[in-house]
Protein backbone atom coordinates (compact mmCIF):
# COMPACT_ATOMS: atom_id res chain seq x y z
CA UNK A 1 0.00 0.00 0.00
CA UNK A 2 3.04 2.29 0.03
CA UNK A 3 3.13 4.57 -2.98
CA UNK A 4 6.56 5.09 -4.52
CA UNK A 5 8.31 8.22 -3.30
CA UNK A 6 6.26 8.61 -0.13
CA UNK A 7 7.02 7.09 3.22
CA UNK A 8 4.47 5.68 5.62
CA UNK A 9 4.39 8.79 7.83
CA UNK A 10 3.74 11.03 4.86
CA UNK A 11 0.87 8.87 3.69
CA UNK A 12 -0.66 8.87 7.18
CA UNK A 13 -0.27 12.62 7.40
CA UNK A 14 -2.01 13.22 4.09
CA UNK A 15 -4.81 10.81 4.97
CA UNK A 16 -5.30 12.50 8.33
CA UNK A 17 -5.24 16.01 6.86
CA UNK A 18 -8.07 15.06 4.51
CA UNK A 19 -10.32 14.29 7.49
CA UNK A 20 -10.28 17.92 8.67
CA UNK A 21 -13.03 20.19 7.44
CA UNK A 22 -12.42 23.86 6.84
CA UNK A 23 -13.34 25.92 9.89
CA UNK A 24 -13.05 23.00 12.30
CA UNK A 25 -11.57 23.85 15.68
CA UNK A 26 -8.83 21.27 16.30
CA UNK A 27 -7.03 20.47 19.50
CA UNK A 28 -3.77 19.04 18.16
CA UNK A 29 -1.05 16.95 19.71
CA UNK A 30 2.52 17.35 18.56
CA UNK A 31 4.12 15.18 15.86
CA UNK A 32 1.99 13.74 13.07
CA UNK A 33 -1.30 15.29 14.30
CA UNK A 34 0.24 18.75 14.21
CA UNK A 35 1.82 18.09 10.81
CA UNK A 36 -1.47 16.82 9.41
CA UNK A 37 -3.49 19.71 10.81
CA UNK A 38 -1.05 22.23 9.37
CA UNK A 39 -1.06 20.42 6.03
CA UNK A 40 -4.87 20.75 6.02
CA UNK A 41 -4.58 24.44 6.88
CA UNK A 42 -2.12 25.07 4.05
CA UNK A 43 -4.24 23.21 1.48
CA UNK A 44 -8.00 22.60 1.54
CA UNK A 45 -8.87 24.02 4.98
CA UNK A 46 -7.37 27.52 5.35
CA UNK A 47 -9.77 28.39 8.18
CA UNK A 48 -9.09 25.37 10.34
CA UNK A 49 -8.37 26.62 13.88
CA UNK A 50 -5.42 25.02 15.67
CA UNK A 51 -5.33 24.93 19.45
CA UNK A 52 -2.34 23.54 21.35
CA UNK A 53 -2.48 22.49 24.98
CA UNK A 54 0.40 24.80 25.85
CA UNK A 55 -1.86 27.79 25.16
CA UNK A 56 -1.81 29.03 21.53
CA UNK A 57 -5.28 29.52 19.99
CA UNK A 58 -5.47 29.90 16.23
CA UNK A 59 -1.80 29.15 15.58
CA UNK A 60 -0.72 29.54 11.95
CA UNK A 61 2.90 28.31 11.95
CA UNK A 62 4.94 28.83 8.80
CA UNK A 63 7.44 26.17 9.88
CA UNK A 64 6.25 22.91 11.40
CA UNK A 65 6.56 23.09 15.17
CA UNK A 66 8.92 20.66 16.91
CA UNK A 67 7.20 20.89 20.25
CA UNK A 68 3.72 21.55 21.55
CA UNK A 69 4.73 25.00 22.75
CA UNK A 70 7.07 26.35 20.09
CA UNK A 71 7.66 30.08 19.77
CA UNK A 72 6.38 29.87 16.22
CA UNK A 73 2.99 28.76 17.57
CA UNK A 74 2.81 31.60 20.06
CA UNK A 75 3.89 34.26 17.56
CA UNK A 76 1.38 33.28 14.89
CA UNK A 77 -1.60 32.60 17.17
CA UNK A 78 -4.65 34.84 17.59
CA UNK A 79 -3.65 34.82 21.24
CA UNK A 80 -1.94 32.61 23.79
CA UNK A 81 -3.77 31.78 27.01
CA UNK A 82 -2.59 29.87 30.06
CA UNK A 83 -2.64 26.08 30.06
CA UNK A 84 -5.36 25.98 32.75
CA UNK A 85 -7.51 28.21 30.57
CA UNK A 86 -6.97 25.94 27.54
CA UNK A 87 -8.19 22.92 29.44
CA UNK A 88 -10.98 24.72 31.32
CA UNK A 89 -12.55 27.30 29.00
CA UNK A 90 -11.69 25.82 25.62
CA UNK A 91 -11.59 22.01 25.93
CA UNK A 92 -13.90 21.34 28.91
CA UNK A 93 -16.06 24.26 27.77
CA UNK A 94 -17.05 22.09 24.80
CA UNK A 95 -15.54 24.27 22.09
CA UNK A 96 -13.35 21.67 20.32
CA UNK A 97 -14.64 20.04 17.13
CA UNK A 98 -11.76 17.62 16.58
CA UNK A 99 -9.27 16.20 19.04
CA UNK A 100 -6.28 14.85 17.20
CA UNK A 101 -3.54 12.80 18.83
CA UNK A 102 -1.22 9.82 18.57
CA UNK A 103 -1.21 6.62 20.58
CA UNK A 104 1.15 3.84 21.64
CA UNK A 105 -1.42 1.06 21.97
CA UNK A 106 -5.06 0.78 20.95
CA UNK A 107 -7.75 -1.89 21.24
CA UNK A 108 -10.61 -2.74 18.89
CA UNK A 109 -12.95 -0.24 20.57
CA UNK A 110 -10.39 2.56 20.10
CA UNK A 111 -9.49 2.80 23.77
CA UNK A 112 -5.91 3.99 24.16
CA UNK A 113 -2.94 3.15 26.34
CA UNK A 114 -0.11 5.65 26.73
CA UNK A 115 0.74 4.74 30.34
CA UNK A 116 2.44 1.35 30.84
CA UNK A 117 3.13 -1.97 29.17
CA UNK A 118 2.80 -4.67 31.80
CA UNK A 119 1.71 -4.24 35.38
CA UNK A 120 1.23 -0.65 36.59
CA UNK A 121 3.20 -1.15 39.80
CA UNK A 122 6.06 -3.03 38.09
CA UNK A 123 5.84 -2.02 34.45
CA UNK A 124 7.78 -3.71 31.69
CA UNK A 125 7.83 -0.41 29.82
CA UNK A 126 6.96 2.89 31.41
CA UNK A 127 5.31 5.05 28.71
CA UNK A 128 5.03 8.86 29.04
CA UNK A 129 1.54 8.86 30.54
CA UNK A 130 -1.75 10.60 29.94
CA UNK A 131 -0.87 14.19 29.05
CA UNK A 132 -4.02 15.86 27.78
CA UNK A 133 -5.41 12.75 26.07
CA UNK A 134 -8.09 11.52 28.55
CA UNK A 135 -9.93 14.84 28.50
CA UNK A 136 -9.42 15.45 24.78
CA UNK A 137 -10.81 11.95 24.12
CA UNK A 138 -13.76 12.72 26.40
CA UNK A 139 -14.63 16.29 25.45
CA UNK A 140 -13.82 16.85 21.75
CA UNK A 141 -16.87 16.45 19.51
CA UNK A 142 -14.89 13.87 17.54
CA UNK A 143 -11.46 12.31 17.87
CA UNK A 144 -8.90 11.32 15.25
CA UNK A 145 -6.09 8.98 16.23
CA UNK A 146 -2.88 8.44 14.32
CA UNK A 147 -0.57 5.51 14.96
CA UNK A 148 1.70 3.07 13.18
CA UNK A 149 0.17 -0.33 12.69
CA UNK A 150 1.77 -3.44 14.19
CA UNK A 151 1.26 -6.31 16.64
CA UNK A 152 2.37 -4.17 19.57
CA UNK A 153 0.13 -1.25 18.61
CA UNK A 154 -3.16 -3.12 18.09
CA UNK A 155 -3.92 -5.44 20.97
CA UNK A 156 -6.86 -7.53 22.11
CA UNK A 157 -6.75 -6.12 25.63
CA UNK A 158 -4.92 -3.02 26.81
CA UNK A 159 -2.65 -3.29 29.82
CA UNK A 160 -3.98 0.11 30.91
CA UNK A 161 -6.82 2.26 29.56
CA UNK A 162 -5.44 5.81 29.60
CA UNK A 163 -8.11 7.42 27.41
CA UNK A 164 -11.56 6.18 26.58
CA UNK A 165 -12.66 5.31 23.07
CA UNK A 166 -15.87 3.26 23.01
CA UNK A 167 -15.02 1.35 26.22
CA UNK A 168 -16.68 -2.09 25.83
CA UNK A 169 -18.34 -1.11 22.55
CA UNK A 170 -21.97 -0.62 21.61
CA UNK A 171 -23.43 2.29 23.56
CA UNK A 172 -20.99 1.93 26.48
CA UNK A 173 -19.48 5.35 25.77
CA UNK A 174 -22.83 7.15 25.82
CA UNK A 175 -23.89 5.27 28.93
CA UNK A 176 -20.73 6.35 30.71
CA UNK A 177 -21.75 9.96 30.04
CA UNK A 178 -18.80 10.96 27.88
CA UNK A 179 -19.81 14.18 26.11
CA UNK A 180 -17.97 13.81 22.78
CA UNK A 181 -18.82 11.34 20.00
CA UNK A 182 -15.47 9.57 20.43
CA UNK A 183 -13.01 8.37 17.78
CA UNK A 184 -14.31 8.65 14.22
CA UNK A 185 -11.14 7.37 12.56
CA UNK A 186 -7.87 5.67 13.36
CA UNK A 187 -5.32 6.52 10.72
CA UNK A 188 -2.45 4.06 10.31
CA UNK A 189 0.29 3.42 7.78
CA UNK A 190 -1.69 0.41 6.50
CA UNK A 191 -5.07 2.07 6.16
CA UNK A 192 -7.90 3.87 7.90
CA UNK A 193 -10.15 2.24 10.47
CA UNK A 194 -13.56 3.53 11.48
CA UNK A 195 -15.88 2.36 14.25
CA UNK A 196 -18.79 0.17 13.18
CA UNK A 197 -21.96 2.26 13.66
CA UNK A 198 -23.49 -0.33 16.01
CA UNK A 199 -20.77 -2.42 17.67
CA UNK A 200 -18.25 0.44 17.55
CA UNK A 201 -15.56 -2.07 16.69
CA UNK A 202 -12.82 -0.61 14.49
CA UNK A 203 -13.18 -1.74 10.89
CA UNK A 204 -10.83 -1.18 7.95
CA UNK A 205 -12.45 1.21 5.50
CA UNK A 206 -9.57 2.06 3.13
Amino acid sequence: MTAPGYNASEIMTVAAARRLNDGAVCFVGIGLPSTAANLARLTHAPDVVLIYESGPIGAKPKALPLSIGDGELAETADTVVSTPEIFRYWLQGGRIDVGFFGAAQIDRFANINTTVIGDYARPKVRLPGAGGAPEIAAMAKEVLIILKHGRKAFVEKLDFVTSAGFLDGGDARERAGLPGRGPTAVITDLGILEPDPVTRELTLVS
Binding site: I30, G31, E53, S54, G55, P56, L66, S67, I68, G69, D70, G71, L73, A74, E75, V80, V81, S82, T83, P84, I86, F87, R88, L91, Q92, N111, T115, Y120, R122, P123, K124, V125, R126, P128, G129, A130, G131, G132, A133, P134, E135, A138, M139, F160, V161, T162, S163, A164, L167, R173, A176, G177, L178, P179
Partner: protein, 287 residues
Protein backbone atom coordinates in the same frame (compact mmCIF):
# COMPACT_ATOMS: atom_id res chain seq x y z
CA UNK B 1 8.91 40.91 48.90
CA UNK B 2 11.25 39.66 46.17
CA UNK B 3 14.96 39.79 46.88
CA UNK B 4 17.34 39.84 43.96
CA UNK B 5 19.85 37.07 44.68
CA UNK B 6 22.36 34.93 42.82
CA UNK B 7 20.80 31.63 41.76
CA UNK B 8 23.25 29.85 44.05
CA UNK B 9 22.09 31.81 47.06
CA UNK B 10 18.42 31.56 46.13
CA UNK B 11 18.62 27.75 45.93
CA UNK B 12 20.72 27.55 49.09
CA UNK B 13 18.20 29.59 51.05
CA UNK B 14 14.91 28.45 49.60
CA UNK B 15 15.15 24.81 48.46
CA UNK B 16 15.51 22.34 51.33
CA UNK B 17 15.98 18.58 51.56
CA UNK B 18 12.60 16.86 51.60
CA UNK B 19 10.76 19.80 50.02
CA UNK B 20 7.95 19.53 47.53
CA UNK B 21 9.36 21.40 44.55
CA UNK B 22 7.68 22.38 41.28
CA UNK B 23 9.89 23.49 38.40
CA UNK B 24 7.39 24.57 35.77
CA UNK B 25 7.61 25.79 32.19
CA UNK B 26 5.52 24.24 29.45
CA UNK B 27 8.03 23.64 26.62
CA UNK B 28 8.86 27.36 26.88
CA UNK B 29 10.97 28.89 29.69
CA UNK B 30 11.98 25.61 31.34
CA UNK B 31 14.10 26.53 34.39
CA UNK B 32 17.13 24.38 33.50
CA UNK B 33 19.74 26.54 35.22
CA UNK B 34 17.83 26.29 38.49
CA UNK B 35 17.43 22.54 38.08
CA UNK B 36 21.19 22.15 37.70
CA UNK B 37 21.84 24.30 40.73
CA UNK B 38 19.54 22.10 42.84
CA UNK B 39 21.55 19.06 41.67
CA UNK B 40 24.89 20.81 42.27
CA UNK B 41 23.90 21.69 45.83
CA UNK B 42 23.04 18.03 46.46
CA UNK B 43 19.42 18.36 47.58
CA UNK B 44 17.87 14.99 48.55
CA UNK B 45 14.49 13.38 49.12
CA UNK B 46 12.63 15.88 46.99
CA UNK B 47 9.01 15.42 46.02
CA UNK B 48 8.89 16.88 42.55
CA UNK B 49 5.84 18.21 40.76
CA UNK B 50 5.71 18.98 37.07
CA UNK B 51 3.19 18.47 34.29
CA UNK B 52 5.84 17.50 31.76
CA UNK B 53 8.95 16.11 33.43
CA UNK B 54 11.66 16.20 30.77
CA UNK B 55 15.45 16.48 30.67
CA UNK B 56 15.86 18.42 33.86
CA UNK B 57 13.70 16.03 35.88
CA UNK B 58 15.43 13.05 34.24
CA UNK B 59 18.69 14.52 35.57
CA UNK B 60 17.33 15.11 39.08
CA UNK B 61 15.86 11.58 39.19
CA UNK B 62 18.99 9.95 37.76
CA UNK B 63 21.14 11.73 40.35
CA UNK B 64 19.02 10.25 43.13
CA UNK B 65 17.58 13.53 44.41
CA UNK B 66 13.94 12.53 44.07
CA UNK B 67 11.71 10.23 46.11
CA UNK B 68 8.28 11.16 44.68
CA UNK B 69 6.98 12.58 41.41
CA UNK B 70 3.55 14.07 40.70
CA UNK B 71 3.23 14.46 36.94
CA UNK B 72 1.07 14.04 33.87
CA UNK B 73 3.42 13.36 30.91
CA UNK B 74 6.99 12.15 31.25
CA UNK B 75 8.88 11.99 27.99
CA UNK B 76 11.56 13.60 25.86
CA UNK B 77 9.23 15.60 23.63
CA UNK B 78 9.57 14.71 19.96
CA UNK B 79 12.40 12.27 20.74
CA UNK B 80 11.28 9.43 22.97
CA UNK B 81 11.72 8.12 26.48
CA UNK B 82 13.20 9.58 29.64
CA UNK B 83 15.54 6.72 30.45
CA UNK B 84 16.48 7.82 33.97
CA UNK B 85 12.80 8.25 34.88
CA UNK B 86 12.05 4.83 33.39
CA UNK B 87 15.00 3.22 35.16
CA UNK B 88 13.77 4.61 38.49
CA UNK B 89 10.20 3.42 37.91
CA UNK B 90 11.03 0.09 36.23
CA UNK B 91 14.15 -0.92 38.21
CA UNK B 92 14.29 1.38 41.22
CA UNK B 93 17.67 2.84 40.21
CA UNK B 94 19.32 4.79 41.79
CA UNK B 95 16.42 4.69 44.24
CA UNK B 96 12.76 3.76 43.96
CA UNK B 97 10.56 6.55 42.65
CA UNK B 98 6.98 6.78 43.87
CA UNK B 99 4.77 8.23 41.16
CA UNK B 100 1.48 10.05 41.57
CA UNK B 101 0.13 10.22 38.10
CA UNK B 102 -2.51 12.58 36.75
CA UNK B 103 -3.58 14.07 33.42
CA UNK B 104 -2.68 17.54 32.14
CA UNK B 105 -6.16 18.99 32.70
CA UNK B 106 -6.09 17.70 36.25
CA UNK B 107 -2.61 19.11 37.02
CA UNK B 108 -3.54 22.48 35.53
CA UNK B 109 -6.71 22.59 37.63
CA UNK B 110 -4.79 21.49 40.73
CA UNK B 111 -2.34 24.38 40.33
CA UNK B 112 -5.30 26.77 39.93
CA UNK B 113 -6.79 25.39 43.16
CA UNK B 114 -3.44 25.86 44.90
CA UNK B 115 -3.15 29.46 43.68
CA UNK B 116 -6.77 30.07 44.73
CA UNK B 117 -6.41 28.84 48.31
CA UNK B 118 -8.77 25.94 47.68
CA UNK B 119 -8.12 22.41 48.96
CA UNK B 120 -9.23 20.77 45.73
CA UNK B 121 -10.35 21.32 42.15
CA UNK B 122 -13.31 19.89 40.26
CA UNK B 123 -13.27 18.89 36.62
CA UNK B 124 -14.94 16.70 34.05
CA UNK B 125 -12.41 13.95 33.66
CA UNK B 126 -11.23 10.38 33.80
CA UNK B 127 -14.52 8.79 32.77
CA UNK B 128 -13.51 5.39 31.36
CA UNK B 129 -9.84 5.87 32.26
CA UNK B 130 -7.94 3.45 34.53
CA UNK B 131 -5.96 6.24 36.19
CA UNK B 132 -8.31 6.71 39.18
CA UNK B 133 -7.92 2.96 39.97
CA UNK B 134 -4.19 3.49 40.48
CA UNK B 135 -4.22 6.95 42.05
CA UNK B 136 -6.37 7.39 45.16
CA UNK B 137 -5.81 11.13 44.88
CA UNK B 138 -8.35 11.23 42.07
CA UNK B 139 -11.78 11.17 43.69
CA UNK B 140 -15.31 12.35 42.92
CA UNK B 141 -17.71 14.98 44.17
CA UNK B 142 -21.39 15.29 43.41
CA UNK B 143 -22.83 18.56 42.13
CA UNK B 144 -25.27 19.81 44.79
CA UNK B 145 -27.45 21.29 42.04
CA UNK B 146 -27.55 18.70 39.24
CA UNK B 147 -26.41 15.50 40.96
CA UNK B 148 -23.67 15.03 38.34
CA UNK B 149 -20.50 13.29 39.44
CA UNK B 150 -17.28 15.18 38.74
CA UNK B 151 -13.64 14.32 39.28
CA UNK B 152 -11.97 15.98 42.27
CA UNK B 153 -8.21 16.36 42.65
CA UNK B 154 -6.18 17.83 45.50
CA UNK B 155 -4.64 21.28 45.12
CA UNK B 156 -0.92 21.45 44.41
CA UNK B 157 0.81 23.49 47.15
CA UNK B 158 4.58 23.25 46.60
CA UNK B 159 7.04 24.33 49.26
CA UNK B 160 8.95 26.01 46.45
CA UNK B 161 8.12 26.76 42.85
CA UNK B 162 10.87 27.62 40.41
CA UNK B 163 10.20 29.23 37.04
CA UNK B 164 12.16 31.10 34.39
CA UNK B 165 10.79 34.36 32.96
CA UNK B 166 11.92 36.92 30.43
CA UNK B 167 12.32 40.03 32.61
CA UNK B 168 12.33 41.44 36.08
CA UNK B 169 12.69 45.05 37.14
CA UNK B 170 15.15 46.15 39.82
CA UNK B 171 12.46 45.93 42.50
CA UNK B 172 11.71 42.31 41.61
CA UNK B 173 8.50 42.58 39.60
CA UNK B 174 8.47 39.83 36.94
CA UNK B 175 7.09 39.80 33.39
CA UNK B 176 6.64 36.78 31.16
CA UNK B 177 4.90 36.37 27.83
CA UNK B 178 4.22 33.89 25.05
CA UNK B 179 3.44 30.35 26.16
CA UNK B 180 2.65 30.85 29.85
CA UNK B 181 1.81 27.25 30.79
CA UNK B 182 1.02 26.99 34.50
CA UNK B 183 3.89 29.17 35.71
CA UNK B 184 1.87 31.95 37.28
CA UNK B 185 -0.40 29.47 39.08
CA UNK B 186 2.59 27.40 40.21
CA UNK B 187 4.25 30.46 41.78
CA UNK B 188 1.05 31.63 43.45
CA UNK B 189 0.34 28.09 44.75
CA UNK B 190 3.75 27.82 46.46
CA UNK B 191 4.95 28.89 49.88
CA UNK B 192 8.22 30.20 48.38
CA UNK B 193 9.31 30.94 44.84
CA UNK B 194 12.40 31.52 42.75
CA UNK B 195 12.20 33.21 39.36
CA UNK B 196 15.26 33.18 37.13
CA UNK B 197 15.16 35.81 34.39
CA UNK B 198 16.83 36.63 31.09
CA UNK B 199 17.42 40.24 32.12
CA UNK B 200 16.84 42.78 34.86
CA UNK B 201 15.65 46.14 33.58
CA UNK B 202 14.75 49.57 34.92
CA UNK B 203 11.16 49.39 33.65
CA UNK B 204 9.21 46.29 32.67
CA UNK B 205 7.22 48.17 30.03
CA UNK B 206 4.47 45.58 30.29
CA UNK B 207 1.52 45.96 27.93
CA UNK B 208 -2.06 45.97 29.25
CA UNK B 209 -3.19 42.78 31.02
CA UNK B 210 0.30 41.28 30.76
CA UNK B 211 1.32 38.31 32.88
CA UNK B 212 3.11 40.16 35.68
CA UNK B 213 4.06 38.64 39.02
CA UNK B 214 4.32 41.55 41.44
CA UNK B 215 7.44 41.54 43.60
CA UNK B 216 5.46 40.94 46.78
CA UNK B 217 4.20 37.64 45.35
CA UNK B 218 7.72 36.32 44.59
CA UNK B 219 10.44 35.33 47.08
CA UNK B 220 13.62 35.59 45.00
CA UNK B 221 14.63 36.75 41.54
CA UNK B 222 17.93 35.60 40.03
CA UNK B 223 19.52 36.87 36.84
CA UNK B 224 20.32 33.84 34.68
CA UNK B 225 20.48 34.74 30.99
CA UNK B 226 20.05 31.65 28.84
CA UNK B 227 18.74 29.83 31.91
CA UNK B 228 15.98 28.07 29.98
CA UNK B 229 18.40 26.33 27.56
CA UNK B 230 17.81 23.94 25.78
CA UNK B 231 14.20 25.16 25.80
CA UNK B 232 13.52 28.63 24.49
CA UNK B 233 12.74 32.11 25.77
CA UNK B 234 10.40 34.02 23.48
CA UNK B 235 12.09 37.19 22.30
CA UNK B 236 15.54 35.95 23.40
CA UNK B 237 16.52 32.61 21.86
CA UNK B 238 15.08 29.56 20.17
CA UNK B 239 14.81 25.98 21.30
CA UNK B 240 18.06 24.01 20.80
CA UNK B 241 16.89 20.60 19.60
CA UNK B 242 20.40 19.17 19.66
CA UNK B 243 20.52 18.48 23.38
CA UNK B 244 17.05 16.90 23.33
CA UNK B 245 18.27 14.56 20.57
CA UNK B 246 21.62 13.92 22.22
CA UNK B 247 19.89 13.19 25.55
CA UNK B 248 18.71 9.88 24.07
CA UNK B 249 22.33 8.67 23.99
CA UNK B 250 23.60 10.49 27.08
CA UNK B 251 20.88 9.15 29.34
CA UNK B 252 20.27 5.64 28.04
CA UNK B 253 22.81 3.87 30.29
CA UNK B 254 23.64 4.58 33.92
CA UNK B 255 27.41 5.03 33.82
CA UNK B 256 27.60 7.30 30.78
CA UNK B 257 24.81 9.39 32.30
CA UNK B 258 26.68 9.75 35.60
CA UNK B 259 29.92 10.61 33.80
CA UNK B 260 28.15 13.24 31.72
CA UNK B 261 26.50 14.76 34.79
CA UNK B 262 29.82 14.86 36.65
CA UNK B 263 31.64 16.57 33.81
CA UNK B 264 28.88 18.99 32.78
CA UNK B 265 27.03 19.78 35.99
CA UNK B 266 28.84 18.67 39.16
CA UNK B 267 32.26 19.89 38.02
CA UNK B 268 31.05 23.22 36.64
CA UNK B 269 30.36 26.21 38.86
CA UNK B 270 27.21 27.48 37.26
CA UNK B 271 25.02 27.35 34.16
CA UNK B 272 27.47 29.47 32.16
CA UNK B 273 30.15 26.90 33.03
CA UNK B 274 27.81 24.10 31.97
CA UNK B 275 27.21 25.81 28.64
CA UNK B 276 30.98 26.21 28.02
CA UNK B 277 31.76 22.57 28.75
CA UNK B 278 28.74 21.43 26.74
CA UNK B 279 29.96 23.46 23.77
CA UNK B 280 33.36 21.73 24.04
CA UNK B 281 31.64 18.33 24.12
CA UNK B 282 29.53 19.27 21.17
CA UNK B 283 32.49 20.47 19.10
CA UNK B 284 34.46 17.33 19.89
CA UNK B 285 31.50 15.18 18.84
CA UNK B 286 31.16 17.10 15.59
CA UNK B 287 34.90 16.84 14.90
Amino acid sequence: MAEILSLREAVARLVRDGDTVALEGFTHLIPSAAGHEIIRQGRRDLSLVRMTPDLIYDQLIGMGAVKHLRFSWGGNPGVGSLYRFRDAVEKGWPRPLAVQEHGHADMANAYVAGASGLPFAIMRGYVGSDLPHYNDQIRTVTCPFTGEKLAAVPAIRPDVTVIHAQKADRRGNVLLWGVLGVQKEAVLAAKRSIVTVEEIVDELEAWPNACVLPRWAVTAVALEPGGAFPSYAQGYYKRDSWLYQAWEEISREREPFLAWMRRHVMETDDFAGFRRVLDETRRSMAA
